[in-house]
């Protein structure tokens, strides 16, 4: 017990000496703290920025188009069929009842998708239509940007047009438009609808062809009682895995597919690309931090060779000296990383509180605000990285001096 107490006392003294040594060269200590602090703050903010972008992508993908995921008949998404409607869900009411009973599910959205010709009497434009439950979808798909008019809701003959499609047809809210399509039996059918609103998602090729009509009108147009898919709105974003397992067990003929898979090109690829990019930039930032600290710490340690010689002359081993210098590095790393993270957090709640306005991303047509989303886990990881960087830089700088012969160290000036 006494030995342990003495060892703890000794360690406390090493830390005390290390902490005091930080005040020997206040400018250098400040330079190291600044390097660690700026590096940590950069990493923290950049990670938060990326998280913000990824979350925005995810929100767009879920609340503009796909929901948290969709149910299709087994193999439907992977196969191209001559008559796809023959593979649509034919027992929708039964499926809907089971889905509504599941604890993860908040809302369900039956859909059919089809190609059609839209005409205003003089101009004909082909489009890609989706029959939706307007009332349900208007409460969930909140990031669909309706720039004119209103979301499709309880209107029985409403149609919501993509920006490009509305422009091509020269239509405004309140105008009438005819939608022509083949029924599932092969005959031509048409419905007259009133434009309720014009939307954009920011993806030009989608906004140029997309339109939405009430699912009852779509079924009438296609002459079918089936639905192609059921989009799912969950109570929380993290419940997909649980829902997916439950749905797979419940429906032997249906397959749940998450939005990340449905929107792989837009969402998942963006997330993977950003993560990869962040990895490289993190490496660059960390290298700069390590080199910056190494430069300052190495100068400082080299000037203390005589003191190190004195420590060694009085019985300290190379390892004891190395530990003392590492303790100093650790103190600077911890303080610097904490300052950096605190500063970044303060900056984010002040200057960046409204997010950062970004130009249109690849494939998008509109600017968007990205919030820097900081969380405790990222703070802890950044703190660890900042501190470890300082330790590594100190180790690189201290190693040679700690290994120096005692006589050489004492003779140095």
């Amino acid at each position: 017990m006494r030995k342990l107490t003495e060892r703890l006392w000794r360690a406390a003294w090493v830390m005390k000496l290390a902490a005091r040594n930080l005040f020997r060269q206040p400018r250098r200590t400040f330079a190291v703290l600044l390097t660690v602090g700026l590096g940590s703050a950069s990493l923290f903010l950049f990670q938060g920025f990326n998280t913000g972008i990824m979350n925005q992508y995810r929100e767009n993908s879920i609340h503009a188009r796909y929901g948290h995921g969709q149910l299709h008949t087994r193999g439907y998404l992977e196969t191209v069929f001559e008559k796809p409607w023959e593979h649509w869900i034919d027992n929708y009411d039964e499926v809907a009842g089971a889905l509504r009973a599941m604890p993860e599910v908040k809302q369900i959205f039956p859909r059919v998708e089809f190609f059609a010709l839209l005409t205003n009497g003089s101009i004909n434009v082909s489009g890609h239509g989706t029959g939706v439950d307007g009332v349900e979808e208007s409460t969930f798909f909140t990031t669909l940007n309706v720039e004119e008019g209103n979301m499709l809701s309880s209107e029985e003959d409403g149609i919501l047009l993509g920006r490009g499609l509305a422009n091509a047809l020269k239509l405004n809210p309140g105008d009438r438009v005819t939608v022509l399509a083949n029924t599932v039996h092969g005959s031509l059918n048409g419905v007259d609808l009133t434009v309720t609103g014009i939307f954009h998602t920011g993806k030009k090729e989608f906004d140029d062809v997309a339109f939405r009509i009430p699912i009852a009108q779509a079924r009438k147009l296609l002459d079918t009682e089936r639905v192609e898919s059921v989009a799912i709105g969950l109570k929380e974003d993290g419940l997909w895995d649980s829902f997916s397992r439950r749905a797979a067990a419940e429906f032997s003929t249906l397959t749940p597919t998450s939005f990340a898979v449905l929107d792989k090109v837009y969402y998942q690829n963006s997330v993977d690309w950003l993560k990869s990019q962040f990895g490289i930039i993190r490496l660059i930032i960390l290298s700069i931090v390590v080199l910056g600290i190494f430069n300052v710490v190495a100068t400082s340690i080299f000037e203390r060779k005589m003191e190190i010689g004195n420590l060694r002359a009085n019985g300290d081993s190379s390892m004891d000296v190395l530990l003392l210098l590492l303790a100093e590095g650790a103190v600077m790393g911890v303080v610097g990383a904490l300052l950096g993270i605190g500063g970044a957090w303060a900056l984010n709640t002040g200057l960046f509180a409204d997010g950062i306005l970004m130009p249109p991303a690849p494939g998008l047509t509109r600017q968007f605000h990205v919030r820097i989303e900081l969380d405790v886990l990222t703070a802890v990881l950044t703190f660890g990285l900042g501190s470890v960087c300082c330790l590594v830089a100190t180790l690189l700088a201290a190693w040679r001096v700690a290994k120096l012969g005692i006589g050489d160290a004492l003779r140095s000036i």
């Binding site: 006494r2 003294w13 000496l17 005091r20 020997r24 005589m306 060694r312 019985g315 081993s317 006589g407």
Partner: protein, 223 residues
């Protein structure tokens, strides 16, 4: 004998050229003795002191310290001997600038593993012996050169080493202060029955020496 040194050779390397510092020095030092290694600059006295202090690695010859052949002992053992049995006093004091006088004295006692109560007692006694107890909270930069050297003496003495090795301990001090330092060293040697070895060419040090070992060009001249 606390030291038996035989046929010591040592050379430094300057720009890939060997510079001999010791060329066959033999020496015996008895326990409790007060010895001064004397000679002009470059005579090898500091090198000999470093070898006696287990600071420089052995190149040729032999030193027996406390009955152990120095060349044969491990690095750990050498560290242990330096920590417990040898006290150093340097010309430029070598105090930790961020620690107070009291903490400077206490630091190496902690490294020795001396229990707290005993440690505090030793620190107080050592600083009182050199007349600096009332300045124990001062840091080195707040002390004069003489006071710093007194702290260095207290630090070496508090370790209760078998040997105190002092390299030019009066070189940075005025005569009066140098004399005081030497008196303190003598007093501490008597009190703790330590062996005192001083490397110096200061006539004032030589006057008070129990024995003088003279060196020139790395060789003993006479004793």
């Amino acid at each position: 004998m606390i030291y038996r040194a035989r046929d010591l050779h040592f050379q430094y390397w300057l720009d890939r050229h060997p510079v001999p510092a010791l060329r066959g020095v033999s020496l015996e030092i008895a326990e409790g003795e007060s010895l001064v290694l004397s000679g002009p600059s470059g005579s090898g006295k500091s090198t000999l002191l470093s070898l006696l202090g287990l600071i420089e690695p052995m190149q040729a010859g032999s030193i027996r310290f406390l009955g152990e052949e120095v060349a044969a002992i491990s690095e750990d053992r050498r560290n242990g001997l330096r920590r417990h049995e040898i006290g150093f006093i340097f010309q430029n004091f070598q105090l930790f600038p961020t620690l107070s006088a009291e903490e400077n004295v206490e630091y190496f006692l902690i490294r020795q593993g001396i229990p707290t109560l005993e440690r505090k007692k030793r620190v107080k006694h050592a600083l009182e012996s050199v007349g600096l107890w009332n300045r124990r909270h001062h840091r080195p930069l707040e002390l004069s050169g003489g006071q710093r050297q007194r702290v260095a003496v207290a630090r070496a003495a508090a370790k209760r080493p078998k040997v105190i090795l002092a390299d030019e301990p009066t070189a940075s001090l005025d005569q009066q202060t140098g004399r005081e330092i030497l008196s303190m060293l003598d007093a501490l040697r008597s009190e703790h029955r330590a062996t005192l070895v001083i490397a110096s060419h200061d006539p004032m040090v030589l006057e008070r020496a129990g024995r003088i070992y003279r060196l020139a060009d790395g060789l003993e001249v006479n004793s």
